[in-house]
């Protein structure tokens, strides 16, 4: 496929609020993103030209925000609404290998749906991880450093150099990636073995760090982003769409020369390259 043929659904519902920057990321790379409200997939009494199907797209991305106000658990309301009417479509989409991504609240939705860290059922009855409240117990907005640790499995990060350290902002209250306590070690080992861990928080020396605020939320194993076993479903708490330009980094005034591209671009170009190769 060519870039311009790739239709990306930037999924929204009430409370989603990073959709414009997310859409911009895809359009600057030549793809065809469309911001689509969940009602456009579900609601019967809307004009025909506004109705959409999951199968109309080659890529789905769930942006950040506070979907449904996040008044239950972050992402839970959106996940429940997806499950209620779109479960079969999503399962088919993922099984066919099309990429699904989630950033921040979008990551929370994918975890609540059970798409991440992944299961044979694709959308299982119960989630197998959770993004708990930050250890600091409050929302925070700051820039963090991430090491890209994927060994090649993740379709969304192949253009981010292996072992590269990148700077991105976080802005969340619930980003503390947590695995079931009764099988925490085993699950973690399996995630590592299956190359499902994509980004981990590091300190300014580049070392994995559990020290706040280098690890801003207390995530186990300093996990900032994971993918499913097949590598086509990916979620992360930091916001790549907010650093498409270097001028959005914390200390760009100290970086003389160099290009203008920000570290977030590689995430979006990776998935587009993947689709171009695969479909």
């Amino acid at each position: 496929m060519k870039a311009e043929e790739i239709k990306v659904a930037v999924m929204v519902m009430e409370g989603t609020n990073n959709e414009v920057a997310t859409s911009d990321a895809f359009s600057m790379l030549g793809a065809t993103p469309e911001i689509v409200h969940i009602n456009q997939f579900q609601k019967k009494d809307i004009p025909r030209d506004m109705k959409r199907k999951i199968g109309d797209y080659q890529c789905l991305i769930f942006p950040g925000g506070f979907s449904g106000g996040d008044y239950v658990r972050a992402g839970a309301i959106w996940a429940a609404r997806m499950k209620a009417t779109l479960k079969d479509d999503i399962v088919k989409f993922v099984r066919e290998g099309y990429p699904v991504g989630g950033v921040c609240n979008g990551f929370q939705v994918l975890v609540e749906l059970g798409l991440l860290p992944g299961s044979p059922a694709v959308v299982p009855d119960y989630p197998s991880a959770v993004l708990r409240q930050n250890k600091s117990s409050h929302f925070e907005c700051r820039h963090v450093l991430l090491r890209h640790v994927s060994r090649g499995n993740c379709a969304w990060t192949n253009n981010v150099g292996h072992d590269a350290v990148v700077e991105m902002p976080i802005a969340h209250g619930e980003g503390n990636f947590t695995l079931p306590l009764d099988c925490e070690d085993a699950t973690l080992k399996a995630l590592v073995a299956n190359d499902q861990i994509v980004f981990r928080y590091v300190d300014e020396g580049g070392d994995f760090s559990e020290v706040y605020p280098w690890n801003p939320n207390g995530s186990i194993y300093n996990i900032a982003g994971v993918c499913n076993g097949e590598g086509n479903v990916f979620g992360m708490m930091p916001h790549p769409e907010r650093v498409l330009s270097k001028y959005l980094l914390q200390r760009w005034h100290h970086m003389k020369g160099a290009g203008e591209e920000g570290p977030g671009v590689a995430v979006f170009s990776s998935v587009l390259d993947h689709i171009k190769r695969r479909f």
Binding site: E14, G15, T16, N17, N18, V20, A21, D24, M28, H37, N39, Q40, K43, D45, I46, P47, M50, G64, G65, F66, G68, G69, D70, Y71, H138, F139, E140, C141, R142, H143, L145, E167, P169, A171, E204, P213, W214, H239, E241, R242, V243, L244, S245, Y247, L248, Q250, R251, W252, H253, H254
Partner: protein, 778 residues
């Protein structure tokens, strides 16, 4: 007293009020009983109007008058003064200023930015989280109703000290409770709605004990051709009410805002505070902007103070039309509401649009996709009347001009007496100690714990953030810079400033100083001042001394703005901030917007490289009035800093052009705590750098005055090329002094006349600054 209220309907609560035969005393008690806040004179005007009609008013009609004629809605005490000094500054960038909910100003050939500013003081004093949250909600609607996407919220906040040692009066909430509640309200609302919080300020003074101030500014952005006005297109247009349902929350919000708080406000006025529902607001913004972009609306206005009663009339009257409303069509949160309650309720998350009939179904479809409730509640009519039907009965019929055009007042003023005599204060034995206590004082200490709970980067445009410097070791920036277009390097800089202590000591020069500080904050990042908004928080205007202070402040603002030819484009007046303990410090909070020609040529406050030269730009004088140093030393008096607009203009130009040319690597404005604090803050965000400075060249001042004076129009700049920098300074006739250089040893060393007066390690500086507020609130 005889009963003046006669029930008119069995089915619902509607009363006729017998004012035609009422005595003056009875008129006053009618106003009080109904809670409409009309003065005896205004009640008489109402009586004359209705006797001309040959009938008594219904309760809903008097209620509507109370809303429209409230200080909050009509600016009846302030308008003449504002007109004289700050309105009407002509500038080529003005597109639509002062007239509507927000000011619209040119950004470039195709785009405009939009400025709004509001206060939510009284609601926040009663219910801090709800009051502050709905304050954010309200200002967002003001921006959206011009057709603009909100792109940044700024919130100047004023509280009593968090460790207030005295007794808290009955009915007042502890400043620590108010502080955390207000911040939580702004955080929860702003983050959920998805508009970045890009600045503000927090200031502490005893006078805010019973009446904290919560001001909210907002910046919006739009294509010029998407500008929509707050009035209807023509007769026959339909009134479409969008968003939330109407309930009993926020009844009499504007009259509550137009009277003094009392110890009973908690119980008596709780219902005047609205309930925030950000999750309804977010889709409402989408729908309004989408519908406008598709050209489906003829006018749009937000439901704020006064609710339907203000919005319906204000959308028809400016175009010489009237309105016919079916009150039954308004979706309600609860049953049994009286018609007047529906009419004046200030329930949140509602917008009114006027729509031509042929576009109605398209608007409703859009609303359906986004799950936004939309109801046709009436239509615009040719006759200049406002008519309301309810349950098949006509309950309201008034001339729209009489209703909307509130009386304007020239109230008596008593000019303030200024005493600027110098207090006795000897030179401190240890400047290190003074500097450290300044750094940890509430007004200067780090505000990081607040900034970090607000999302300041959503929308991916914040190219200079509120906290600048090293990752996880940041310092306060001067102004936030947004880059609203991905296709252009042009930027918008924003800053909020005022030092109320200076304004209290000398209203005219204190207000001028607030303007000066705004301009220098913009210049410090490389931006030129382009427009201003003001949120004027004062006491009861019916007290001549309070209005005198207001008059002098407005005159001071006008002096600077006119001198710079930079317009005031929007603003807000909040009177009646008195509370149980007397008046607040007069607080004109300035919101300044600057233009950056190219965001690549900006700079930030933290020091960048050892060996670079340090300069102070501007003259340092013994102007200690209202300074943080005097406050900390427990003395008052002293000369409040003056402003010379020509010097300000030239110096800003010099600073901005040297930043643009790239010789200035770091720049920070000198304000609270003077040069001592300024240098410390530049060190705080750096990677372990320090500064060695000699202030002998600044003249014959005492060392403590040199270090801590808050004289206006000054910056400290880190300069990479001294020759070229000095050349630009001289060309612009700006005063400058070479004072030292950046070092790599992480120490701040300041000498004066051969004596080392400050020698501090940056770790100690950081610790004091970081812990100032944290040690009290945790």
């Amino acid at each position: 007293m005889r009963d003046l209220f006669k029930r008119k309907s069995k089915e619902f609560e509607l009363f006729e009020v017998d004012i035609l035969n009422a005595s003056d005393g009875e008129l006053a008690s009618v106003s009080a009983d109904m809670g409409i806040g009309l003065s005896p004179d205004e009640m008489k005007q109402a009586r004359d109007y209705f006797s001309g009609l040959g009938r008594n008013p219904r309760d809903i009609e008097l209620q509507a008058l109370g809303q429209a004629w409230s200080e909050h809605c009509s600016y009846k005490s302030s308008k003449k003064i504002l007109k004289k000094y700050v309105f009407g500054i002509d500038a080529p960038q003005n597109i639509s200023v002062i007239k509507e909910d927000a000011g619209v100003v040119e950004f470039d050939k195709d785009y405009a930015y939009v400025v709004g500013y509001e206060s939510h003081n009284h609601p926040s004093a009663v219910e801090p989280a709800g009051g502050a949250g709905t304050g954010v909600g309200g200002i967002l609607r003001d921006i959206v109703c011009m057709g603009a996407q909100p792109i940044g919220v700024l919130d100047p906040l004023f509280f009593a000290p968090l460790d207030y040692p005295g007794k808290i009066p009955r009915g007042t909430k502890h400043p620590k409770f108010l502080y955390s509640g207000v911040i939580a309200g702004i955080r929860d609302y702003g983050n959920q709605v998805g508009i970045p919080n890009v600045g503000g300020m927090v200031y502490f003074d005893d006078s805010y004990l019973t009446n904290c101030l919560v001001n909210v500014g907002c910046l919006g952005f739009m294509r010029k051709d998407e500008l929509i006005h707050s009035y209807a297109g023509g007769a026959g247009d339909l009134y479409v009410l969008l968003g939330g349902k109407t309930g009993r929350d926020g009844i009499h919000g504007v009259t509550f805002a137009s009277e003094e708080l009392s110890e009973d406000s908690e119980t008596a006025s709780r219902s005047a505070v609205q309930v925030a529902q950000p999750i309804l607001k977010e889709p409402l913004i989408h729908v309004c902007l989408l519908a406008n972009r598709k050209g489906l609306l003829t006018g749009m206005k937000d439901l704020g103070g006064g609710g339907l009663s203000c919005v319906v009339g204000e959308m028809a009257q400016p175009v010489g039309l009237g309105a016919h409303i079916d009150l039954d069509k308004v979706p309600l949160k609860e049953e049994g509401m009286a018609p007047w309650e529906i009419w004046v309720s200030e329930s949140q998350e509602r917008m009114m649009a006027t729509v031509a009939r042929e576009n109605l179904s398209k608007v409703l479809d859009l609303c359906n996709v986004w799950d936004v409730e939309a109801s046709v509640v009436g239509e615009v009519i040719k006759s200049k009347n406002l008519v309301i039907d309810y349950d098949g009965m006509n309950i309201f019929d008034m001339n729209i001009d009489f209703l909307v055009d509130a009386p304007l007042y020239t109230r008596p003023v008593e000019m303030p007496v200024i005493d600027e005599s110098e207090p006795p204060l000897s030179r401190p034995p240890d400047h290190n100690k003074v500097l450290l206590s300044l750094l940890s004082s509430l007004n200067i200490a780090s505000k990081e714990d607040i900034v970090r709970v607000y999302d300041h980067e959503i929308m991916a445009a914040t190219v200079i953030k509120p906290l600048v410097g090293k990752l996880n070791r940041t310092t306060h920036g001067d102004a936030v810079v947004l880059k609203p277009l991905s296709t252009s390097y042009r930027g918008l800089a924003v800053s909020c400033d005022v030092n109320p202590a200076m304004v209290g000591a000398n209203p005219y020069w204190g207000s001028a100083s607030a303007m000066d500080e705004s301009c220098r904050n913009l210049a410090a990042v490389g931006a030129r001042a382009h427009s201003f908004a003001d949120c004027l928080n004062f006491g009861n205007p019916e007290k001549p001394d309070r209005l005198g202070v207001f008059h002098e402040c407005v005159r001071g603002l006008g002096y600077v703005a006119r001198g710079l030819s930079v317009p005031f484009v929007s603003g807000n007046v909040s009177f009646y901030n008195e509370g149980a303990g007397g008046g607040i410090l007069p607080t004109p909070a300035i919101f300044a917007i600057g233009i950056v020609d190219d965001i690549r040529n900006t700079c930030t406050a933290e020091l960048k490289r050892a060996g670079n030269k340090l300069y102070v730009i501007g003259e340092t004088c013994q102007e200690m009035g209202g300074s943080e140093y005097y406050r900390l030393s427990g003395v008052s008096g002293g000369v409040v800093p003056r402003v010379d607009v020509d010097v300000l203009k030239r110096s800003c130009e010099a600073v901005v052009s040297s930043i643009e040319k790239g010789f200035v690597w770091a720049c920070h404005d000198v304000s609270s705590g003077g040069m001592g604090v300024c240098l410390s803050e530049m060190i705080i965000g750096s990677s372990g750098l320090g500064a060695r400075v000699d202030v002998s060249s600044l003249g014959e001042l005492r060392s403590d005055f040199k270090l801590f004076s808050e004289s206006n129009t000054r910056w400290i700049a880190e300069v990479s090329d001294a020759y070229l920098f000095e050349k630009i300074m001289k060309r612009n006739d700006a005063a400058f002094y070479a004072i030292g250089e950046v070092t790599d040893n992480g120490r701040l060393v300041i000498c004066d006349n051969g004596e080392t007066i400050v020698d501090l390690d940056s770790k100690k500086i950081c610790k004091k600054w970081d812990d100032g507020i944290r040690k009290i609130v945790g």
